[in-house]
């Protein structure tokens, strides 16, 4: 395989404690060599025939990992396919994604897991890691054939979209997955309390006359899961945490030494429930968990800073325009996120000084790779050459019409953001390249 030399970029690689201007040589899909650029020191030389990428002024990161993506295939190809979803991931700066099992049919056994793996090899442009179902057809009754799915390539289990509301089943899956060392990812929501709700329950839902999803619906489930994890062992991962109360529970559990991790989404970090009112009931502000009040948003940001949060994940949930262009309460929950996550994090969290670049790489690469047990998230010599290159100065407006995703359901259309992924490299191969300013 050909070689690639990434010259003169700022390499931020927390796994090796690196933050320095470096040359990076990729050969045969791996990081072959790396050398800091310093006065008096010889630069790395590209072997004959190698492509040279000038990364001056750019930030070179280990390839980002989005651990919460809905690819919709098989079964809902009108929303997204493995081909379009992975293309969206590449455009958004992600080199690896983990896809949720709530397809049609559910990924609850070897055949669907193998289908996803083979389709990803055939039409995908980034690494795809399937997440298998906890229970057969996600019904929350009997355990799915987790061993088979792990053999086929599954890296975690989840009944995502549906909380594992049956405490006994949750206990069993936490116990059973100890056999494989994989995490159990739970969408925490108490279905009795959340029934019929379409947005956060509070002042804004009162003003708009919409049925509320109280914070307690999430917090009850988080609390129950933590208690079950303490009982059963296993590795619990809480998906898309959205409230201060959830965060505090996880923080305390971590202090007590429990093996729990959690993720937050970019939309919960930059939007509040007032967005539903300001947008006059735009269904692109409708998702689960719902957008919460400012106090919760600030608590999540605090969780990013103090290390309680382990990963930022998009919860990329594509829906066809016809499905979203409905009355607010009739529209489905969820928004796309693969192509907006990185610029939102760069513009709203890094540029504003809330987190630094090292922490950003922790949250977008190191953390999710560690949770899923992937040998990713580093640019050490010998590692897979999965690389995300960012231009911190690039400015652009989010334009849903230009998404690679099949779906357009984003509340961020028209947002002007600074700091975009400009090149995505998977296994040494450039899968996305944005032509920006001259000089390259």
């Amino acid at each position: 395989m050909a070689s690639l030399l990434v010259r003169g970029g700022r390499v931020v690689d927390p796994a090796t404690g690196t933050d320095a201007v470096m040359d990076l040589l990729v050969t045969d899909g791996r990081i072959a060599d790396r050398r800091p650029v310093a006065p008096g020191q010889k630069r790395l030389v590209a072997p004959g025939g190698a492509r040279v990428v000038d990364a001056t002024g750019r930030i070179v990161c280990p390839g980002f990992v989005d651990m919460h993506v809905h690819l919709r295939e098989p079964g809902q190809e009108h929303k997204e396919t493995i081909a379009t979803g992975t293309a969206a991931a590449a455009a958004g700066g992600f080199t690896s994604i983990a896809c949720m099992p709530n397809t049609d049919p559910w990924n609850d056994g070897l055949s669907v897991t193998e289908y996803v793996m083979s389709e990803a090899r055939r039409s995908g442009v980034v690494n795809v890691f399937p997440i298998g179902a906890v229970s057969k057809a996600g019904r929350g009754e009997e355990l799915a054939e987790i061993g088979d799915m792990v053999r086929g390539g599954a890296v975690a289990v989840s009944d995502d979209g549906r909380p594992v509301a049956n405490a006994s089943l949750m206990r069993r899956v936490l116990e059973y997955t100890r056999l494989f060392g994989i995490p159990v990812i739970d969408h925490c929501e108490n279905p009795d309390l959340s029934a019929g709700g379409v947005m956060h329950e509070g002042y804004v839902s009162t003003m708009l006359g919409l049925k509320g999803l109280p914070s307690a619906a999430e917090e009850i489930a988080v609390g129950a899961d933590l208690a079950l994890a303490a009982l059963a062992g296993g590795r619990l991962h809480i998906a898309h945490m959205s409230t201060r109360g959830s965060l505090e529970r996880v923080r305390r559990a971590k202090q007590e030494g429990l093996a729990v991790t959690c993720e937050v989404t970019p939309h919960h970090l930059v939007l509040c429930d007032t967005a539903v009112m300001e947008s006059d009931y735009d269904p692109n502000t409708k998702m689960k968990p719902p957008l919460r009040p400012e106090a919760d948003r600030l608590a999540l940001i605090e969780g990013l800073r103090d290390g309680t949060v382990d990963a930022i994940a998009s919860d990329h949930a594509p829906h066809h325009t016809d499905e979203k262009l409905q009355e607010f309460d009739a529209a489905p929950f969820g928004i796309v996120g693969l192509e907006t996550t990185v610029p939102l994090v760069m513009d709203r969290l890094v540029r504003t000084g809330i987190i630094d670049l090292k922490r950003m790489v922790d949250l977008l690469a190191v953390g999710p790779a560690r949770i899923l047990g992937l040998k990713k998230g580093t640019l050490a010599v010998g590692a897979d050459a999965d690389i995300t290159i960012l231009d911190p100065q690039a400015e652009a407006q989010v334009d849903v019409a230009r998404f690679r995703s099949k779906s357009r359901n984003s509340p961020f259309h028209g947002w002007a953001l600074r700091g975009w992924p400009v090149m995505t490299i998977v296994g040494g191969r450039v899968v996305h390249e944005l032509q920006t300013q001259a000089g390259h």
Binding site: E201, G202, Y203, S205, T206, M207, L208, G209, L210, K211, G212, T274, M277, E278, S279, D280, Y281, D322, L325, Q326, E327, F328, D329, A330
Partner: protein
């Protein structure tokens, strides 16, 4: 909540008298942010500007809600309704004001009162009306709201009056239609013409709204009548208290500018106006209260309870009533009740709204 102003319609902007420009002209892009500002300021009525100059024309294309309407705009609608009330007393109850205009009454939820009230109002203004409802339409065949709206639009109506079970459905229509949209009740959100006719009725009886003590009692959670009335009466300077079982009080409602109590005796104490809200039996199954009997015992308006109010109290109900549940027949049909006057006034208020949204001015009407 209001839509964008009549951008591009120079004629109506020119009609606006100097100094009446309280409502900013908004482009669609800026509207969300500005609306947020409106919301923020209306939480604190005292920081609103000093008494606005009188208005002669409405600055909005749609009536989606009361929230966002200024005191001057509400006053304009009520004053215009006053002029139209006179039409209903004539032997020939018809004026040519909306001749040649087509109004679609698009009712996705069953309604007798509101729908017939709009229809009468439209006919008295000489508009051509078209009634469109789900049982007789393609909606039962699974057509989306967007497609239904587009098909209605294709017949080039001037206005669409919409009643819909989903909060925000009129806003959805306003985004996708060229017609003027009038909200005739959306989900649990707003019912602006009901609040306007309530205010009209109160003003006729009391001569003012400012400083009156108004108690609103019943299912606060699911009531669009409540929300519109709170927004309106707050803007007009009334003193509000709401009352209902704790299970039917929406969260943080006190932030809208009302006191909250769970005791009806406290709510009606010294009230100038008592407004009862309909309690739906389905809520009992939802666990909000144990039985109609217990609801009546705790929250029903009885003659005895009315005695705690002012001696000239008026009793209101938006209908349809559950006699013997939220209100005693003796009260509903008694001397303080203005329930049927509300219905009568509804026609005049809806005539005013239709007329003003069509671009009419109160000056033209007087001339």
């Amino acid at each position: 909540m209001l839509d964008t102003a009549r951008t591009g319609d120079r004629k109506s902007l020119a009609r606006r008298p100097a100094g009446a420009g309280k409502v900013p002209r908004r482009g669609p892009a800026a509207s969300a942010r500005e609306r947020a500002v409106v919301v923020a300021t209306t939480e604190f009525p005292e920081i609103e500007a000093a008494k606005p100059a009188p208005m002669s024309a409405l600055q909005h294309r749609h009536l989606l809600g009361i929230l966002g309407l200024s005191e001057a705009e509400i006053t304009l609608i009520l004053d215009t309704a006053r002029a139209f009330a006179e039409v209903s007393l004539r032997p020939i109850k018809k004026v040519p004001t909306l001749r040649g205009k087509t109004v679609v009454n698009f009712f996705m939820e069953p309604s007798t009162r509101t729908r017939s009230s709009f229809e009468v109002a439209e006919k008295r203004l000489s508009a051509d009306t078209l009634n469109f409802s789900p049982s007789a339409s393609s909606v039962v065949k699974g057509e989306s709201l967007l497609d239904t709206a587009r098909n209605l639009e294709a017949m080039a109506p001037d206005m669409i009056v919409i009643r819909h079970q989903s909060s925000g459905a009129p806003h959805f229509l306003a985004r996708h239609c060229k017609s003027n949209i009038i909200n005739a009740g959306d989900g649990s959100h707003e019912h602006p013409t009901q609040a306007l006719l309530d205010a009209f009725t109160i003003r006729e009886k009391k001569g003012r709204l400012k400083g009156l003590r108004v108690a609103i009692i019943g299912d606060l959670m699911h009531s669009r009548v409540l929300r519109s009335n709170l927004f309106l009466l707050r803007t007009m300077g009334a003193e509000l208290i709401v009352c209902g079982p704790p299970t039917l009080v929406p969260p943080e409602i006190d932030k809208i500018g009302t006191r909250v109590t769970y005791r009806i005796d406290e709510a009606v104490e010294g009230a100038d106006v008592i407004m009862m809200l309909r309690i739906q039996r389905e809520r009992q199954k939802g666990g909000a209260f144990p039985s109609a009997r217990e609801y009546y015992n705790l929250f029903g308006l009885t003659t005895e309870r009315v005695r705690r109010a002012k001696r000239d109290v008026i009793i209101m109900h938006p209908g349809p009533m559950n006699r013997g549940v939220e209100i005693d027949s003796a009260v509903a049909d008694g001397p303080f009740s203005v329930i049927l006057e509300q219905v009568t006034n509804g026609v005049a208020v809806r005539m005013a709204v239709l007329y003003l949204l069509a671009g009419g001015t109160i000056g033209e009407l007087a001339g």
